[in-house]
Symmetry: C2
Subunit: 127 residues, 2 copies
DNA sequence: ATACTTAATGCAACCAAGTTGCATTTACGG
DNA sequence: CCGTAAATGCAACTTGGTTGCATTAAGTAT
């Protein structure tokens, strides 16, 4: 039962790879020329996450965004300590490189980070 | 058109106040003895947020959690720089005091923080 | 206390994001 | 080229949350 390489899959993978930002389901559909079923897209994305190829971010609009894991986090697929920025004007979610600092009371074991700042990105705050 | 003080409202306010954790809609219903309509609860919570009484957190399960604003953040109702921890075993979302450090490329204007770490809390990681 | 205004409630219906079941298609190993 | 099972597509469902609207009940004026 190994994975199979399908057209749809590679299309989405390429999309995510060339994209700077994390994409939501409908961000993806928007960029697709050949229409794909909602379900298919979700399943492909979930597979990517399962395989540690992409990570899933739940933004503060409550929706899932997906981004290809940068090499830096390749060693550690669950704890993505970097932050994400969602621009409320252009609706892009970007991965912002660099670690986030915090301290937690002892005994707490983190196995997932979901850090979203939102506001206006560089481009939009100039308008 | 000022606000009116109703029973349901005070019940929920008290609930949130005495609770250490942030509560979701159904966390609240669970703790309620007298049953309240879903819609009513949501509307009350939204009003609290509007009035700067509570803040809304979107956890990494995609759901909204509400917590009374601690005094420290009274001066600044939108940017809650502190982090939240969601325990995946006991399903509690706690506010963790202390600022979170990060740096953002210039030009970015943050007006909301939504920082969720998840994993096992002190109590649960001992089990 | 009584009447009036309009905020708050409750119900039904709706909406959006995401998932599941199942029949059909299709990648890929033999 | 055949057979197996992974991937797709469609319909239907689930969950979290919101909206419309008639009804109830705060708070104010009389």
């Amino acid at each position: 039962m190994p994975r199979r390489q399908t057209k749809s899959q590679t299309i989405i993978l390429n999309l995510l790879q060339q994209e700077q930002a994390a994409l939501s389901h409908d961000g993806i559909t928007a960029k697709l020329e050949k229409e794909l079923d909602r379900v298919t897209i979700y399943r492909i994305l979930n597979r990517f996450v399962e395989d540690g190829l992409a990570h899933r971010i739940i933004a503060d609009d409550g929706r899932q965004y997906f981004a290809i894991c940068p090499k830096e986090c390749a060693h550690d697929h669950k704890a993505h300590g970097h932050l994400h920025f969602r621009c409320v004007s252009c609706d892009r979610v970007e991965c912002v490189p660099g670690e986030v600092g915090y301290n937690l009371p002892k005994g707490y074991r983190v196995d997932n980070h979901n850090i979203i700042l939102s506001g206006n990105c560089n481009a939009c705050s100039k308008k």
